[in-house]
Amino acid sequence: MARFLSKILLTSCLVCLAANWIAAQTGSPAPATADARIAKLEQQVAEAKGSADNAWMLVSSALVLMMTGPGLALFYGGLVRKKNVLATMMQSFAMMAIVTVLWGLLEYSLAFGSGNRFIGGFHHLFLRGVGPQPDADYAATIPQQTFMVYQLMFAIITPALISGAFAERMKFSAMALFMVLWSVLVYAPMAHMVWGKGGLLNAALGGRFPTLDFAGGTVVHITSGVSALVCALYLGKRLGYPHEPMPPHSVVLSFIGACLLWVGWFGFNAGSALAAGTLATSAFVATHFGAAAAALGWSAAEWIRNGKPSALGAISGAVAGLVAITPAAGFVGPMSALVIGVVAGVSCYLMVAKGKARFGYDDSLDAFGVHGAGGTIGALLTGVFALSGINPIFKDSQGNPLPSGLIDGNGYQLVNQLVGILVAWILAIVGTLLILKVVDLVIGLRVPDDHEIQGLDLSQHGEEGYYWEASAS
């Protein structure tokens, strides 16, 4: 019995030894030194941060896409007459398809590849070299592919914003060609100048005139808003404007759209931190406060002037505030955001309600009044309220933070902001005029009068947004 037990004991010892030996051969050996273990931990920490940042940036990318469809499509779709609802929504949706292809083939490289001060080069053509490795100049913790797709969503919404100016009268084909050319000739250079490597206005990478533009006040809103004004002037008024009433056919659709824009804007602005850290939170908070203050500002102005605060006014104000806070989001505190918001809300209301009537142009859906005016105000006020304590973007040679904006003690920043604004205005005016001229010659911009009267849904797309079916029920 004792012999039997000792045999079992011996066998189990041998089995244990063998198992240990196998484990030692197949499993990873324990790190030999403390240094190696620390290095391994550091790598794991970096990977964890990378994953967290990447998760936020992918969500942000989706949020920004949601701003175009359904956000902007609904916002604009509700503002037009019934007969043009689909055509207007399609102008936004088409950007989701057209700009995506263009971005992959060419535009990303032109915007974010290294090049000269004004435009990027060709080495990321067809997204060559855009893979899982981060591009440390832009965002060191996320795959460049994430950065690329995030920036793509901005490139989609920017031209879609312009479509508000020529709604209800432009040919779909002309619009598509215009947008392709505009993306390449206006958006790509502007994005490169402000955010690209070596760009003239890049504040983070040592541009000649460092313009503070956190999420696209100049790149997105001034370019689109000013181009919208040029389009409205070049195309001329809609038939019957302004003596025929053209009220929005569904403020309900616009309402839903504007609320989606507000939510999506968190991806737009807080996402522009390009990481999931405290700066994203700060930008998120500023964005929200700016929108709220502007909704109040617009509503108050309207209440005083017309006796009632309208739903359309409140949502338009929120959008104007979101536009104005866009360049400032990652540089200012919540109280500054309130000021920026309320100034934008009131000024954009005056621009839309008074300015447009005075100058007599027909910017159908107020793309200029909201994005052009709001973007310009926001870009200027960013130069006033930017704080290095929130985002130390300017540093001296030792890496110590330098003051950012006027209240931070850097009054000169206003000059830089003005240069950025001026460049955006000039590029938008010249580029858009040129492109309109070309498209006018090649295709012709406006639909024939009878098509405009019939409505663009039928004449351009052969369908109706609200089909009347007599035999339904």
Partner: protein
């Protein structure tokens, strides 16, 4: 045989319908319409632009009744539709030559 066309305030439809049923009116056609009489419209503001809305939403009731029922029906409508304010609407009466029930070709009062 008389056709009654009554244009009334939208908010009075349920009361008018109930009053008509009480006096024995069995069928009617109700249409959502827009129009105006002496009642002025109102103004709406969209992004600071003023729109005068002078065609206001109304309800139009149509029914063709045997002559014996007409005065009772008119009384029912006026009593139920009246709010005493401008914009309460109007009633129009006109002679109708004949009526035909599609299901079985009945004619005249029998078809009503």
């Amino acid at each position: 045989m008389t056709k009654i066309e009554a244009v009334i305030q939208t908010s009075r439809l349920d009361a008018v319908k109930a009053a008509l049923h009480d006096v024995g009116v069995e069928g009617m056609t109700v249409i959502e319409v827009r129009g105006h009489g002496r009642q002025k419209g109102h103004t709406e503001f969209y992004r600071g632009r003023e729109y005068t809305v002078d065609l206001l939403p109304k309800i139009k009731l149509e029914m063709v009744l045997a002559d014996a029922l007409v005065e009772k029906a008119v009384h029912a409508i006026t009593e139920a539709a009246r709010t005493g304010k401008i914009g309460d609407g109007k009633i129009f009466l006109s002679r109708v030559d004949d009526a035909i029930r599609i299901r079985n070709d009945e004619r005249g009062d029998a078809a009503l």
